[in-house]
Structures are given as structure tokens and as C-alpha cells.
Point group: C2
Chain length 230, copies 2
DNA sequence: ACAAAAATGAGAGCACTGCTCTTGACGCTC
DNA sequence: GAGCGTCAAGAGCAGTGCTCTCATTTTTGT
């Protein structure tokens, strides 16, 4: 990611980006299963073996696309939350705004969404950078809850909670809630949010729901209510 | 599905099953992306073109595997619920039992689960039969709620609800609840259940949760509580 | 019982894929 | 300007899904 110093480095950086861009374009057309390194090379007017100078394998190209996609959806989520917060929205309204932003991105970038939350690519091993990029969206949800707690929100009583020992160490201090009622429920809310979007995109709601957008809003509101957000 | 009358029909039925079985075996080994019709034919000692007499395309073979998988997990769900009910379990306990059964099946048949709830196979068009098979598991959850309603359970007050017009017509009469509070929430619970299992299987919980089984039980209990099941 | 019809398996072949290796040309550094 | 590292290109390998043709076998109709 360092700045290109020589002409060759600049050309390399540009071509690397061009490969990713055309790959992303073809991904939108044919889906991840049919994405072909040779077709990408063809569209760029180069021979297939030349692409291997930039990505050692198709899996590596996929990994790069996944990284970019995690950052893209994370950026949308952060943006939606920041805008809502600056407009004076309540935590519940911010939750809805972020949920909508994630869904909108998923619909607009269906096949990139599949890369993130669909069947994992077998040869793809998530490096440390990927984890950070993947955390941007859920951390946005955590931020909303932390702000709500700071404003005096409390977790609804009489609901199942979870002990902190089920969670990884680096998760325990994330939410400002010593009872750990929030963190356990936030993770469930997060997986539920992706679950609803996935069901809609992957056709599990066909023949069940007719108005996807309206139903999604309901799910987001219901989830926020279950977190005690108002 | 009619009974084989001639020897050729019997041989055809057996070979069709043998192809599916070895395909399922190879699927467990290499995953759906690497499943090869030629490799299946090789293992069966036949030439690849012969397999096309039984499945017109790889997509058609996938469709058959998907049908079988939907029925397999649905059967496990129904079995778990029936056993729990006959043992005198409460609706909440039955919900937990069914949830656990689905998760257990998913872990034991990872790649078949991917076929059902992961990225859809592009060339696969769900016929009417597939919808019926896919409905077995969620209908089991509906049955639990109906039994609970029959026993006098009521939907928790002060929670967001949804109007019936968002749902397909053939869904409206499914749950014995004129207010339609249950159906909207059941669908969310269903997608949430699959969302949690998918997150665990697809690695989204790596670095977040350590004790998957314990956390899953919590999510199932929390979901049951949100439906007002006791 | 015998011929026509249908179904089946084998093989060759096409177009495509990911990936490797070698070759020759170019740009950068000293 | 010489030497080195990087680069695109091409050939080639093993594998894929799928189609076509050609015998062989089984079922069916008369």
C-alpha cells in the first residue's frame, strides 16, 4: 500500500487495480462460480499467464475482492450511522438506518455479498487484515449500543443472557456492559441481520413474503426493540 | 417414483441412487465447488457420458442432492420435535430440541448444508417439489407455535408486529393467530436460526465466540423467549 | 416368435478452465 | 552502458461440462 516510487511500481499498482475492477465487473455478470481468470485477462487484452504476476492464484484474486467488499459494505454502514447520528437520530433509528444500508449494499452488489456471507471459497484463508475489514459493519452496531448505554439505556429484563466465558477474550471489553447482556444479544442480532438479507437474496423468502423491503424494516425494528433500543 | 416394473427400470433406479450416493460422498470430501461429474463417473467405473443418461446436467444432479438434503434435515427436525413432544416437553424445550437437531445435521453434513443455505447454484431452478421439501423444517417450528397457542400462549406485548399483507397468500392461514404477530416473528426466528448456524459454519464467529454449542443454545432460548414460548 | 423401437454404455471430440514453464523484450539501478 | 529484475507472451498439461455417434442390449408391439 506504499506510494508508488517508480513508473513500474505505478504501472503495477494500476494494473492490479484494473484486474480487480474487471474481475468485479465480471463477477456481477456471471457470479463467483463462473468467474474466470482467463476471461478477465481477455477483457484486459492480456494473456492469462500475465495475470499470475499480479495474483498468484484465482483464490488470491478472490481474497482481494473479499477484502474490498468487506470494506465497501463496512464503509456504507459507518456512513449511514454517522449521518443518522449527526441528524439527531435515536439509537433505534440509527439501527434501522445501518440495517437498511447493509441490505441496500447487498442488493446492489449481490455477488460480492455472496462472497462475504455465502458459501466460503475453499482455498481462501482469512488473514488478519480481512478480520479487521469484516468487523467494520458489526462494530458499527456495537457503537450504536454503546451510545445507547451511555444515554442510559438498559437491557430488557427477563430475557436469557449469556456468560462472558463463551466469548473470545478480545470481545469482552468491546461493549460497555459488565453484565454482558448486550454483547451476547448483539452478536445474535448481527447474525440475524445477515440471515434475513441472505434469505431474501438467496430466494428462501420466495412464496413466503411479498413486500421484502417492508418486512425487512420490521425485522430491523424488532431486533432493535429486543436490544432495548429506543 | 413409481415402482420399477421391468429389470431395466430397477437397474435405472439403483444406478440413479448410486450416482447420488457417490456424488454425496464426494461432496463431503471436496465441496460443491469441486464436485465433478467425471469424478463421480470414474468412481462408479462408468464413462462420463453415461451419467448424462441419468442427470441431464451437473445442475440437475445438484438439484437432486438439494431435494434429498432438504428432506434429510426436515426429517431430523420433525423427528426431534415429535420425540420431545411425546416426552412431554414444553414448547420452549421443543424449540430448543429442533434447533439443536438442525445445527447437528448442519455440522454433520456441512457441504449439503451449504447447498441449501449457502450461495445458490446459478443454474438451479427450484421446482414445486423442492419448495415442499424445503418447508418441512420451518413448518416444524410453526407446529410448535401452534401447539403453544392452543395451550394458551400469547405473543409478548409491546413488540413490533407486521401486517399480513406483506406475506404471500398461502402463508396467512398457517398459524392460528389472527393478529399475525406470530407468523411475522416466526419467519424472523427461522432466518435467525439459519443465520446463526451459517455464521458458525462459515467462520464468521471465529475470533468472536469460543464455545459454539453453548452460545447456540443461548440463541435458541432467546429466540423462543421472544416468541413467548415457555 | 420375431421385428421394430427404445434405452443404454462406450468412445471421440469440442471448447473451456487453472496453472506451469520457457522465451524474449523491456525498464530500472548501479 | 552493463547487468539484473520484471514483464508479457506463448505453448502445454491435466482437468472440466457437455455433445455427438455408434454398437449393444432390453423392452415392446404385432
Amino acid at each position: 500500500m506504499s506510494a508508488p516510487r517508480t513508473a513500474r511500481e505505478r504501472a503495477r499498482a494500476e494494473l492490479t487495480q484494473a484486474i480487480k475492477d474487471t474481475a468485479r465487473r465480471q463477477l456481477a455478470d456471471v457470479g463467483s462460480r463462473a468467474l474466470s481468470l482467463r476471461a478477465v485477462a481477455r477483457e484486459l487484452g492480456m494473456v492469462s499467464s500475465a495475470v499470475y504476476r499480479y495474483f498468484a492464484s484465482l483464490d488470491e484474486l478472490f481474497t482481494a475482492l473479499i477484502m474490498d467488499a468487506y470494506n465497501a459494505v463496512g464503509e456504507q454502514a459507518e456512513l449511514a450511522d454517522t449521518e443518522a447520528r449527526e441528524a439527531g437520530a435515536t439509537p433505534a433509528e440509527r439501527w434501522l438506518a445501518v440495517s437498511r444500508a447493509v441490505r441496500a449494499w447487498a442488493i446492489a452488489h449481490r455477488h460480492e455479498y455472496e462472497l462475504l456471507y455465502g458459501t466460503p471459497i475453499p482455498g481462501y484463508a482469512a488473514p488478519q487484515d480481512t478480520i479487521a475489514a469484516a468487523s467494520r459493519t458489526p462494530f458499527t452496531l456495537v457503537r450504536i449500543c454503546n451510545d445507547a448505554i451511555a444515554e442510559g439505556a438498559t437491557f430488557p429484563a427477563d430475557r436469557p443472557t449469556v456468560t462472558p466465558d463463551l466469548f473470545d477474550e478480545n470481545m469482552t471489553g468491546l461493549v460497555n456492559d459488565p453484565t454482558f447482556a448486550y454483547p451476547g444479544r448483539i452478536v445474535l442480532a448481527w447474525s440475524g441481520l445477515i440471515g434475513v438479507i441472505t434469505f431474501e437474496l438467496f430466494g428462501q423468502f420466495n412464496g413466503v413474503i411479498t413486500d421484502f423491503a417492508a418486512y425487512f424494516d420490521y425485522t430491523a425494528r424488532a431486533t432493535a426493540a429486543e436490544l432495548g433500543l429506543t
